[in-house]
Amino acid sequence: MVSVILLLPLLGALLVAFCRSEERVKWIALFTTGLTFLLSLYILFNYDISKGGFQFIDYGSWLPSFSIRYKVGVDGLSLIMLIMTTLISFIAVPSAWKYIDRKKKLFYGLLLLLETAMIGVFVSLDLLLFYIFWEAMLIPMSLIIGVWGGERRIYSALKFFIYTFAGSIFLLVGMIVLVIVYGSVTGNFTFDLLQLSQFKLPLELQKWLFWAFFIAFAVKVPIFPFHTWLPDAHVEAPTPGSVILAGVLLKMGTYGFLRFSLPFFPDAYKLYAPVVFVLGVVAIIYTALVALVQEDVKKIVAYSSVSHMGFVMIGLFSLNVQGIEGAIFQMLNHGLVSAALFFIVGAIYERLHTRSVERMGGLASFAPKLATLAMLFTMASVGLPGTSSFIGEFLTILGGYRAAHWVGYLMALGVIFGAAYMLYMYRNVFFLEPKVLSFKDLDAREFLALGFLALLVIWWGFNPEFILKFVHGYTASLLGGV
């Protein structure tokens, strides 16, 4: 079943390739992503929570001489990431609907390829398979930035590619070392995630490998000070690119920490947690302040992502139930909220052809639907109770507080700064005297896509257990091993 979900977008990409009409590809993409989303829901409802662990496992022989196997499956964590990925991809299509006005075939083909790669990252149970998807995802993404991006698209696409690729090299080396050490000790060379995670490495080696993995994941998250590619990439990326970048790609780094760093190197993970606390707190406060003075709305949302990912990082390293569950929930929540915010920014850009707050203003006078939804997502970003962000923030702060009181206090300071930059942005865009003569409100397509996300944000804000029940077992076994 997981393989079907994994391959479906690929199939869609093939269809797109053979489709003659430039218009019809949109519908193919919408249909494929929609079907993928539905299928992932099927897995969600058929995952046996009481049993836990990895389910829906598919595997086959691939490179037997190197014991590399094709092996995919989902546990609670993967499942949540899978739902998020298919959902955001499904939302990305309507966000591209009008924005992408040339080379549509290529675009939707790449988008579907990207979806397959992203799903692959979250469901791979083989280290090498994971690495292949991890890198494969870079190609369609940098092409999307490089072809449909803004003025400095080439610079940003290259920066994105090289920066994350350079980080990933450490991951590859680390993986190979891990496999060789495992093989030389047990006599069994394997890239199987489950077997490797049972193995206890000596602390000295854990330290080295921890940092190798850390660099790759930290660049992807991105965690301060490895974050500077993100604003550049976001600013230049087309709307659907930003939606996916913020919605899904950033979570790959944090997923990596949970899936690899913590089970493989638990002692080093614990040892270096304070370093991450410091980096996380700096990310929360420092980037919030940077966001405050930006004039490009996309930069504001991009920096806000770095700030929010700081909460996730601290939650992950707090090593207690609330922190980790909060971090997982915050990953999902940030996926929804930041995707929605980029969608909104894109909708404005389509109409005004500017991203500068200086040239916006008063849009609430023209567009009640847009203004209302934007307010809702602004408040979600601020972490108002009743939205899913509150759950994520509250739990991660609680987790940080349990790990060390000062961490909790400094994280909570973020609620002030977060409110400041979001509200100033909202004021400059939607309030004040209008600087434009007319502005069209959201059309049905945009309203449905954003409305759907808004319903999820509120629903999961009141019923986070719907998501968290899938990760209770996962978290318990994870923490049991530490």
């Binding site: 974050h227 500077t228 307010m375 408040m379 009743g386 909790g408 509200l423």
Partner: protein, 621 residues
């Protein structure tokens, strides 16, 4: 589900219906949006009376709506816990909200955002009701933040005006500063007690050290100080005047600022267990006295009322600070009626003056708008504390309680504050409603009494403003079933002396105000132009420069200032390093490329050098 659920959710229905109209521009909804509000809040009001009578018979109603599980052990039920404290708040909130709804039909009549206004009103009422009904800290925080959101939306209602948009942001962010502490309070409570349920937390208070309780109390107090606009987070409230006047009535009387006082009263066991109560008192006294002094010098009719709210909230905090929780709530109760009355009255004045808010351009309005003026004067007498008006009873109880509990410094400043209250309110009434007419002749055309829909609420609110004080005995007994009240008994003669002192000071204040502003025997310039007093006057007129100082330190300094520095650092240092690494790599490539000449002779030379090096190495090793 139950009555409590209906009470809270009905205004939400109004919000949703009116909101749908706004979203999809349904004209038929727009013209009817006030009905949604009137019907739903009216029903809530009736139901809350019903609940009040039930609770008066000694019942405590509890309801569970749904379970809000956050994670594992961290869960709380959305529901209702209605004891006497909540029952009273329900009535106050619904009562004021209902008449604000009614009043707004007239006040907002021509506003293009008519339906949006009623939608926000519904949201505001809903939020506050959820807040007062909460059986646990989590729901309290939900209501707390929802109130903040609603007030943000309403203060910025006329969002095209920069001042309104900025005031909204200011209110939200200053509240967030308090919320930062409040969230940490919740987390500390969960950490210490393992629960967020009021009853479970309060029943375990005895097992926790006083130092821990003080910390929790401090954190909760932070939230209350933000929400109730106490020193040093008070500056948002006067700016909140940028919202439409009915909203000021709602914010100042029942919904927003009351939340802080309510929360402290609700958490009395925590505050009683720690050492933080004196801090509450000091904050209250500073606010009560400081705001009153500022009120003396302002010219904007709504601003004067805003500082009077700050000042009265200060009295409530002072009462909380000496442990007289019930008296704080009683003052909140009476204050809700007369402050709503005063704000709605000022709305009529502004309406009649065609938007003018400067009291220097008013005067002699009494003869043009007798109903409004009479009601306004009733409200003023209640606020000043003249017997038998409501404010006299509640304020006097607070002042006596500070004396009885031995906080003589508090007592002194509160008594002087009462004098100042009489002074600035007398100044306001005499300048606006009496004396010469200082407005433009052109404005005369607008000058008229407001329509019935705007005067009836005033008349209705006047009734409790006069009579609510007589409920004092009942109120005290009733609230003591849920809130403690630690006040020592005073000898009867002493109490009478204190009352006489306070009342005569209030009368003196009114008299001095009359001398200056009615009979005009002394010109106010004596105080403002006097070289000795002028610096003091300027200090007060500029509100002790809080706005300027905060703006400099926090907005321009730590906010945008540091933000710019960081943005520069981010762009040129961090990203600079990243790019330098890239350039360095490509430079190495460029340099090494020079070796790739394509000339065979060079390659043979490299080969030779390499060979010699290897041989040399082998020989050495």
């Amino acid at each position: 589900m139950g009555v409590g659920f209906l009470i809270a959710v009905l205004p939400l229905v109004s919000f949703l219906l009116a909101g749908l109209g706004v979203l999809f521009r349904w004209q038929s909804f727009k013209n009817r949006s006030h009905y949604f509000g009137l019907v739903t809040v009216g029903t809530s009001l009736l139901l809350s009376f019903y609940v009040l009578f039930k609770v008066m018979k000694g019942a405590v109603l509890t309801e569970e709506w749904f379970n809000w599980v956050i994670s594992g052990g961290l869960s709380a039920s959305f529901g209702a816990y209605i004891d006497s404290l909540t029952a009273v708040m329900l009535v106050v909130v619904c009562f004021v909200s209902f008449f604000v709804h009614m009043y707004s039909i007239g006040y907002m009549h021509d506003d293009p955002g008519y339906d949006r206004f009623f939608a926000y009103l519904g949201l505001f009422t809903f939020s506050m009701l959820v807040l007062v009904l909460s059986p646990n800290f989590l729901q309290l925080f939900f209501g707390w933040e929802a109130v903040g959101l609603s007030s943000y939306l309403l203060i910025g209602f006329w969002f095209k005006r920069k001042r309104a948009a900025d005031a909204a942001i200011k209110a939200f962010i200053m509240n967030r500063v308090g919320d930062f502490l409040f969230i940490m309070g919740l987390i500390a409570i969960f950490w210490v007690f393992g629960s967020l349920d009021f009853q479970r937390v309060f029943s375990q208070v005895g097992t926790v050290s006083a130092a821990t309780l003080s910390l929790i109390g401090f954190l909760l107090l932070g939230g209350a100080v933000g929400k109730s606009a106490q020193f040093p987070l008070h500056t948002w409230l006067p700016d909140a005047m940028e919202g439409p006047t009915p909203i000021s009535a709602l914010i100042h009387a029942a919904t927003m600022v009351a939340a802080g006082v309510f929360m402290v009263a609700r958490c009395a066991p925590i505050f009683d267990g720690g050492y933080i109560l004196p801090v509450v008192g000091v904050i209250g006294v500073i606010t009560a006295f400081g705001a009153a002094t500022i009120g003396l010098t302002q010219f904007d009719i709504k601003r004067i009322l805003a500082y009077s709210t700050l000042s009265q909230l200060g009295y409530m905090f002072a009462a909380l600070g000496v442990g007289a929780y019930v008296y704080a709530m009683f003052h909140l109760f009476t204050h809700a009626f007369f402050k709503a009355l005063l704000f709605l009255g000022s709305g009529n004045v502004i309406h009649a003056m065609n938007g003018e808010q400067d009291i220097r351009r008013m005067g002699g309005l009494y003869k043009y708008m007798k109903v409004t003026a009479t009601c306004f004067i009733v409200g003023t007498l209640a606020l000043v504390g003249i017997p038998p008006f409501a404010g006299f009873f509640s304020k006097d109880k607070i002042i006596s309680a500070t004396f009885a509990n031995g906080h003589l410094i508090f007592w002194f400043f509160l008594v002087v504050g009462a004098l100042l209250t009489a002074l600035y309110m007398g100044r306001l009434v005499f300048t606006v409603f009496f004396g010469e007419e200082r407005f433009d002749v052109r404005e005369m055309r607008h000058l008229h009494e407001s329509p019935a829909v705007m005067t009836v609420p005033l008349v209705v609110l006047s009734v409790p403003s006069v009579l609510a004080g007589f409920l004092g005995g009942w109120f005290e007994e009733f609230l003591k079933t849920s809130v403690p009240n630690h006040v020592r008994e005073l000898p009867h003669s002493m109490e009478l002396f204190l009352i006489a002192l306070t009342v005569s000071l209030a009368l003196l204040g009114l008299f001095v105000a009359a001398v200056i502003y009615y009979w005009r025997k002394i010109s106010p310039d004596v105080f403002t132009e006097n070289p000795v007093l002028r610096p003091v006057y300027l200090l007060l007129y500029n509100k002790y420069y809080f706005d300027e100082i905060y703006n400099l330190i926090f907005v321009r300094g730590l906010g945008f200032g540091l933000g710019r520095v960081y943005a520069f650092f981010d762009r040129y240092v961090i990203d600079g390093i990243v790019n330098s690494v890239a350039y360095l790599t490509s430079w190495c490539g460029e340099v090494l490329r020079l070796t790739q000449t394509g000339v065979v002779n060079n390659y043979v030379a490299y080969f030779g050098i390499g060979l010699i090096t290897v041989i040399l190495l082998l020989l050495i090793v």
